[in-house]
Each structure stands twice: as C-alpha cells, then as structure tokens.
C-alpha cells in the first residue's frame, strides 16, 4: 500500500485486481471504447505520416484499402487472413474447453494418481510459453498421415489449432478446478448427507453452480487466445499477419507502409475482441451480485 493518501483508492484497485488475477490465473482483457478511439486516431496519424513520406507514389490509404479484403478474408473462396484467425481461435477454444474441463475435473478427483497426473499436465502446459508449444506441435506433427490407403493431409492451420488448444486446455482446467473448490464445502456435505453419490453431486449440484462462475474467465481466455493467434504467422500459417506481410512485400516493401498496415491490424483485432471483453465484464458483474 502507499503512504500517500491520495493514492489509496488506486492502490486498493491494484490490490483487488491482483487478487482476482491470482484467482483466475490470467490478466483480464480489459478493453475500453477509448482504446479503440485512440487506435483509429493512431491509424489516421500514421497514414498522414506515410502520405508525407511517400512522395508522389500511390497514397497509403488507397494501398491499404486495396489490400483490406486480402488481409481480412484472403484469396477468393478460401478461409484465410483474419477469418482464419477467428477459425483457429474457435477450434482451439472448442478443443481446449472440452479437454480442459475433463482435466479440471480430474484435478478434483478422489484418486491421488488421477489428481496428481492431471495437476502435472495442467501446470506443465499452463506455465509453458505459448510460442514454444506452438513450434513444438507444428514441427512435430507430420504434414499428412496415412491410414490404410487414404492419406489425410494435416494443414498448417490445423496444427496451429492443436498447438493453441494445449495452453487453453491447461488454463480452462484451472478455471474448472478453481470454480469447483470455490464452492462452500457445505454443498458437498449436504449432498453427501442426502446420500447423493459423488458423481451425482458433481453433476447435479456442484457443476451447475460452477457454470456461472466459469463463464467470465472462460470468455477472458477466449479473448487472450484470439489475440495470440497471430503467433502462428511465424510458422507461415496464412492468417492476417502473414498476409499483411505478403501485402507489404507485394507493394515493394515501402517502409512507410509498415505502421499503417500494422495499426490497421490492431484496429481489426480491437473490433473483434472489444465486444467480447465488455460482455465478459458485464457477466462478471451480474454473477458476482447473484452468488
């Protein structure tokens, strides 16, 4: 805490945030509308600067507008560019949630080996750098697998989905475990004294109460994941950052285009993630009042 009384309220806020982040195991994607306004203003500024530096070539704005469909959707008839970021995040979240929920329940198992095993898996993937996991998975998996006579190709974006689903899985596992153990022990005891089996207790009494608590951190993890998807551009997955770079080199590598293109990407990500972040905060408030 601070010695300066004027700082006390913000010190209290910091303390509060730190407590919540320890509980949720993640920073909260806390986007405000003015962040977007600043981004759009920044885009205008960098475009202006590029215009001034571009001496008589095609205007940066026109170039950017020209490439926008490519960055957003990729080539005609393909899911590429930013739409691929969304697809990767969607499937990684789906796999991460399903496997992570199972792993989280294993973490509260009564069987010691199950509990320990799932704890180790959870901690390993939760505390590994996302990029390293992504590299490992993308380089380890073959580009195709053969089952009998059929050859099933594994495209890069599928590998990326698997690579991203691992840290998501581990963090969802923690969210589930945290929600289950945060319920008062009286719920378990009263269910026990009514002769419910452990499975019935979990399924009918504990989990339904946990869902509400899990939704805000779960959505927050989705926002974090969606922001992390450009990592796979390093491995050449044809998502928005890869295509932004391709677009810029197609324009002959004009250095003044760098800032406008990347700030444009930031704006796109903001537009996608801002509503999710706001909704998360709203749900969090709603549920924290209720329970």
């Amino acid at each position: 805490m601070s010695d300066l009384p004027v700082l006390l309220p913000s010190a209290a806020n910091l303390l509060n945030d730190a407590g919540r982040q320890r509980r949720e195991g993640a920073f909260r994607v806390d986007l405000k509308l003015w962040h977007g306004v600043v981004l759009v203003a920044a885009l205008a500024v960098v475009l202006g600067v590029a215009e001034a530096a571009g001496n008589a070539k095609e205007s940066p704005w026109a170039v950017l507008v020209n490439w926008m469909p490519f960055i957003l959707w990729g080539q005609e008839g393909h899911w590429q560019g930013f739409s691929l970021n969304i697809i990767i995040s969607f499937f990684a979240m789906l796999i991460g949630t399903v496997v992570g929920a199972a792993l989280g329940l294993m973490q509260v198992s009564l069987l010691l080996p199950v509990r320990t095993g799932s704890w180790i898996v959870t901690q390993f993937f939760r505390n590994s750098p996302w990029l390293v996991l992504l590299f490992t998975i993308m380089l380890m998996l073959p580009f195709e697998i053969q089952i009998g006579d059929t050859i099933i190709p594994i495209p890069d974006w599928v590998k990326a989905v698997i690579g991203f689903s691992l840290p998501v899985m581990a963090n969802i596992s923690e969210v589930v475990r945290g929600a289950v153990i945060s319920l008062p022990s009286g719920q378990w005891e009263s269910a026990e004294s009514l002769a419910f089996t452990r499975f019935q207790t979990m399924w009918m009494i504990i989990l339904p109460q946990c869902v509400k608590r899990m939704i805000p951190p779960w959505m927050n993890w989705y926002a974090i994941l969606a922001m992390a998807t450009p990592l796979c551009s390093i491995m050449g997955v044809e998502e928005s950052v890869t295509f932004t770079q391709q677009a810029m080199s197609a324009e002959g590598g004009r250095p003044e285009l760098l800032a406008p293109f990347y700030v444009f990407l930031l704006v796109i990500f903001f537009i996608y993630i801002y509503p999710i972040a706001r909704w998360t905060v709203r749900l969090e408030r709603k549920y924290s009042v209720k329970i």
Partner: protein, 248 residues
C-alpha cells in the same frame, strides 16, 4: 443380529476422535432410543458438532463404535449411502442448493437417490413444504428466502428421505433472533410426531422444554447428563454449573 425397537436407535460407545494432534472426542458413550429427543450442549470447541457428524459418517472416528439401528457406522464395508438414507442431517448454514427452487431442493434426493416416482415425490414434497409452513414459497429460490425459511426448507429436504433419525447441528445459530422461533417450532412438531432427534444446540429454553435427555460435553468428554429437570435445576459438576450460570 436383527435390530428391533427395544434396542438403541443410535448407540455411541467409547468414541475417540482427533484432528491431527487435537483430541476432540475422548471416550464418549451414550444411547438414543427410538422416538427419543436428546440435546447435546456445551461450550464451543467441546466436540459436540464433531460427535453428531460422526453419527452419519461425515467425520470418521479413531476408535470406539457408533451404531445406527444396530449397524456399525464406521465399518469400512458399510454402504454409506444406505446409512445416510436412514439418518437425516440439518446444518447450521442450511446448505440448500442455491440453483434449485425450494420444492426442487426437497424433491431432488428422493427422485435421484431413492429413484422414486416423480409424481409421488412431488405430492410428498408439497406436503412437507406445507408441514414446515412455507406454503406459497415452493417456487422461490433459496436466495429469496430468509434464514429461517431456508432452514425450514432444509428440514423438509431431509424429511423427504424419510429418515429414522434426524441430526440437527446448531441449526438456529446462524439465524436472526426473530426467525429462531419458527425453526424451533418445526423441530418441536417433528419431535411430537415421534421422530428420533439428536440436537446440538445453544437454545437452553428449547432444550429444557423438548429434550428427553441432555448431554453436557466439555473438552471431548460428557461431563454430566440427565433429564432436563434434573440437569438444569440440580447440576452437580462444577463445569456444568459454570456453563449454565454463564448461559442462563
């Protein structure tokens, strides 16, 4: 060895229980007959809640024996679920399921544990809600009910399992004074119906009026016991006297 009603409903013999180094129960013994109402009183930390929780195996014991209807509770081979169908328990913090309405709270265990017919259970649940005087609150969620109302739903929820013994663990301790009465009335009616009841309580007036037998525990042992009249008016042990002088 079949159990019949001439034998104790609950029999506690020389029970020891410790949490780590802390000895909570140091050789407690007593019997509870069918239709008997007993109250366990004593200072906080004297082991009375632990004792009552051992009766339905929520806590384990280190040595000794507890039987319910002749069945050893702490036999590792015992089907705990079978035991808990016979022993109902009500807690200090009510512990209702907050995501279910009052009537659903009452109906859940009979439907899912006893696998009884839903329509039949529903009829019984409405009757129980009526019995605890909560008509009209069937579809309220626990969060919408007062402490006393929640506690009465908890009692109805326990009764829906048709237990033979009811355990009450300081069920009025968390309530506002004005709602204590309504819960006590419910328990009193239950006792008058012939339910075997074991209560841990701080309500001395209630214990005196309702109990057939009072047990006073201090530091893990039963210091003194007797019917209410003798116990309250003619206590022998200095520890009992001191406790009663503080509380009455």
């Amino acid at each position: 060895m079949a159990w019949d009603e001439s034998q104790p409903m609950v029999s506690i013999k020389d029970v020891y229980k410790s949490f780590g180094d802390l000895e909570v129960l140091k050789g407690v013994s007593f019997d509870v007959m069918k239709r008997e109402v007993i109250c366990i009183i004593g200072p906080s930390g004297s082991g009375k809640s632990t004792l009552i929780r051992c009766v339905n195996a929520l806590n384990t014991i280190n040595s000794g024996s507890i039987t319910v209807e002749g069945q050893e509770v702490h036999d590792p081979k015992l089907d705990k679920l079978e035991l808990r169908k016979k022993v109902g328990m009500v807690f200090q913090q009510y512990n209702l399921f907050p995501h279910k309405t009052a009537i659903e709270n009452v109906m859940m265990a009979p439907i899912h544990v006893l696998k009884e017919d839903k329509a039949e259970v529903e009829g019984r649940a409405y009757a129980l809600i009526k019995k605890v005087r909560l008509e009209g609150k069937e579809n309220s969620y626990p969060g919408e009910l007062s402490g006393g109302q929640q506690q009465r739903v908890a009692i109805a929820r326990s009764l829906a399992m048709r237990p033979d013994v009811m355990l009450f663990d300081e069920v009025t301790a968390a309530l506002d004074p004005e709602t204590v009465k309504e819960v006590l009335v419910t328990i009193q009616e239950l006792a008058e119906d012939g339910m075997t009841c074991m209560l841990v309580t701080h309500e001395m007036g209630f214990a005196r009026e309702l109990a057939d037998h009072i047990y006073f525990t201090d530091r893990g042992v039963i210091v003194e016991h007797g019917p209410p009249a003798t116990f309250f008016d003619d206590a022998k042990d200095p520890r009992t006297k001191e406790f009663l002088s503080q509380i009455l």
